[in-house]
């Protein structure tokens, strides 16, 4: 038996490595995605005041800080038993949608388009956003502009593109000005066209590589996502829905505050990521996925017309049932992005959004609070317990990438079994294994509560664990 290690995995957020255990005939026997970083936010936030958390927890990550701030503020609002004013909710929703756009644009255009447009077996030194800019300058430029649009929303409201100051328990510190509203509205048509370009690129890739996309990996799981009162796709606020692998409703309109009734976690010795599962079905049958694919699989419909038309095409892939192929995460991500752009346009047209009344004040009125928001990578929970003065005595952060962890391991195994055989491991095969991970757009900074990127190292080990071969690529450390 041999073991291959891909360490670290590149073009994702954070540090990780992949171990492929080969059997005696060189076939992949097991695959494991190791997250070897530890940050300890849950521990060192203890002893801080719960109202500080919307400023502390976004520091977990620079990609989805708004989702952390929103979940954190909501947990605080539950502790305070307060509801933000309408304008506070609308402005917060606007920033949150902007962050989804910037994160999804980063995932698709910057991190995944190099594989799709330059080829899985392309030169690794050029298979990145810089190489993309040289080969397809218009796609790269428009992708970068789309990401900028998402961040511009935050900057126009709070003065900062990343780690915005102003999302607080009780609402928002800053209102949206008329000037900002006009500037953002003017950007909407360009953003919409860029998302449609992305969808066209992806559709072309899927048509040209139909067999590959179909066989990328297609194992079945349950899905979890947030939906609105009528089951519509929802990113900012709503209730939870679990569907099974056939699309049957397992549980609907669940109160996110009771997430522990439905989700359990088991630790594993080889990773800092825990293995969450759908509690009623146990760890084996309860593997579920979150994120864009899951959200589109649980939703009954999208809220806006262009996204709805794409949603119908997407669901037709599985004749109305859940779409299981992990590659379809990319498509789901772009459909969501389109929905975000449309919803942003609607929000900017809402006359209530520029009201100055954006924050409600209250004190701590109960000990415990749970805040939930759909982050770009999936459902995010912040759970705080406080003492009488409001200091945190317990913090639990259930992060989207953590929830996808069991499924990511299955995806790696599926892809590795198709592309890795014996000692001779091609660079393309390794990239495909990494690509399976990239579909999930994992954010290990968040999920281990870690940052950075490192080169790729592959180790081949025999059955006794002795190193028998080693490959390395990339630079830096």
């Amino acid at each position: 038996m041999r073991k291959i290690t891909i360490n670290p995995v590149t073009r994702i957020e954070g540090h990780a490595k992949i171990t492929l255990q080969l059997d005696e005939v060189g076939e992949v026997a097991t695959a494991r995605f190791h997250v070897n970083e530890f940050r300890g936010f849950e521990k060192f936030c203890e002893g801080r005041l719960f109202t500080e958390m919307p400023n502390i927890t976004p520091r977990i990550c620079g990609i989805c800080p708004v989702s952390h701030a929103v979940a954190s503020a909501k947990a605080g609002e539950m502790i305070m038993k307060v509801t933000p004013p309408v304008a506070g909710e609308l402005v917060r929703r606007l920033i949150h949608l902007g962050q989804h756009i910037s994160s999804h644009a980063l995932s698709f255009f910057h991190l995944s388009c190099p594989d799709l447009l330059l080829g899985w077996g392309g030169d690794p030194a050029r298979r990145n956003i810089v190489g993309l800019a040289a080969a397809h300058p218009d796609v790269a430029r428009r992708g970068i502009r789309l990401r900028q649009f998402g961040q511009e929303i935050s900057e126009r409201i709070t003065g900062k593109k990343i780690h915005a100051i102003g999302i607080v328990a009780g609402g928002m510190l800053q209102p949206l000005t008329e000037e900002a509203r006009e500037a953002l509205r003017a950007w909407v048509p360009e953003a919409r066209e860029t998302v449609r370009l992305g969808l066209e690129l992806l559709a072309r890739h899927c048509a040209e590589h139909a067999d590959e996309v179909r066989d990328f990996d297609r194992f079945e799981t349950l899905y979890l996502g947030t939906v609105g009162p009528e089951g519509e796709h929802e990113l900012y606020d709503g209730r939870l829905r679990f569907v099974d692998a056939r699309g049957g409703m397992l549980a609907d309109q669940l109160d996110p505050a009771r997430y522990l009734d439905w989700i359990a976690e088991q630790p594993v010795e080889w990773s800092y990521l825990k293995y969450p599962y759908y509690r009623p079905l146990g760890p084996e049958r309860g593997v579920y996925r979150v994120g864009p694919l899951a959200r589109l699989n649980v939703a009954s419909r999208m809220k806006t017309p262009l996204a709805q038309a794409e949603f119908e095409r997407f669901r037709a892939l599985a004749e109305g049932g859940p779409v299981h192929g992990s590659f379809r995460y990319h498509q789901a991500r772009l459909i969501e992005t389109l929905g975000c752009v449309e919803e942003i346009e609607l929000l900017l047209d809402d006359p209530r959004i520029t009201s100055d009344e954006t924050q409600a004040q209250a004190r701590r009125n109960q000990a415990e609070g749970v805040g939930c928001s759909e982050s770009p990578r999936g459902t995010l929970f912040h759970h705080y317990v406080t003492d009488a003065g409001g200091l945190l005595t317990g913090v639990n952060l259930l992060i989207a990438t953590g929830q996808n962890n069991p499924a990511m391991n299955r995806s790696i195994l599926d892809v590795a079994r198709r592309h890795v055989r014996g000692n001779d491991i091609s660079e393309e095969a390794l990239n495909r294994v990494e690509g399976a991970i990239r579909c999930y757009d994992p954010c290990l900074s968040c999920s281990t509560h870690a940052v950075g990127s490192m080169p790729l190292v592959i180790e081949l080990r025999n059955a006794r664990g002795d190193l028998t071969g080693c490959w390395a690529r990339g630079t830096g450390g």
Binding site: E52, R59, I165, L173, R363, G389
Partner: protein, 236 residues
Amino acid sequence: MNEIVSIQLDGNELKVELGRTILDVCREAGVDLPVMCYLEGLSVVGACRLCVVEIEGSPRLFPACTTPVAANQAIRTQTEKLKRYRRMIVELFFAERNHVCAVCVANNACELQDLARRVGMDHVRFPYLFPECGVDASHPHAVLDHNRCILCTRCVRVCDEVEGAHTWDVMGRGHASRVIADFNEPWGSSTTCTSCGKCVQVCPTGALWPKAASMGNLRKEPGKIGELVAKRKLNA
């Protein structure tokens, strides 16, 4: 009226009244010395040493806030040595406790942060002590976070000298010193605190802050204390 004497301030000849402090004279002459423990309206303690100046003929440095002017003094306020020392003092403030501006409620509303910018502190050369410091949130309206306290004692003095409650004191020695409420009680259990909020207003950092504040909307008005004291004198 006290006797008028001549001094030299950064090479400029001045006529000043005896009995005044060098800091007073500097401020009147438009020489802006950095201060941290000093606050108009409160007694002076010369604790932070940021306002140190050189006086010709003496090898030591003098805190301007506590040193009276004397005839024929030649005072220098902006030498390279003084700038170096001031920056060192600010670095030591940061190294002594746990100041994390990025997540502090007083970010962009902090005298220590402003001071660090002013003295050109781009990094801290001293090893951080990372002490374990408690946070006291027992008071219904405000929080005391020892992580961010620089022991300027403005809170202690304003509570005693202006409010008259004397809730605050300092316990311990050296870098183990801590501001305490009453006899080291949780602030919320204090029998002397009037919840007037003056200590919160004078605190130069995020050590004392109102529970209702968040990063981005914290506003403190330490200058109000000097105004209050002046008005009381007028009315006396």
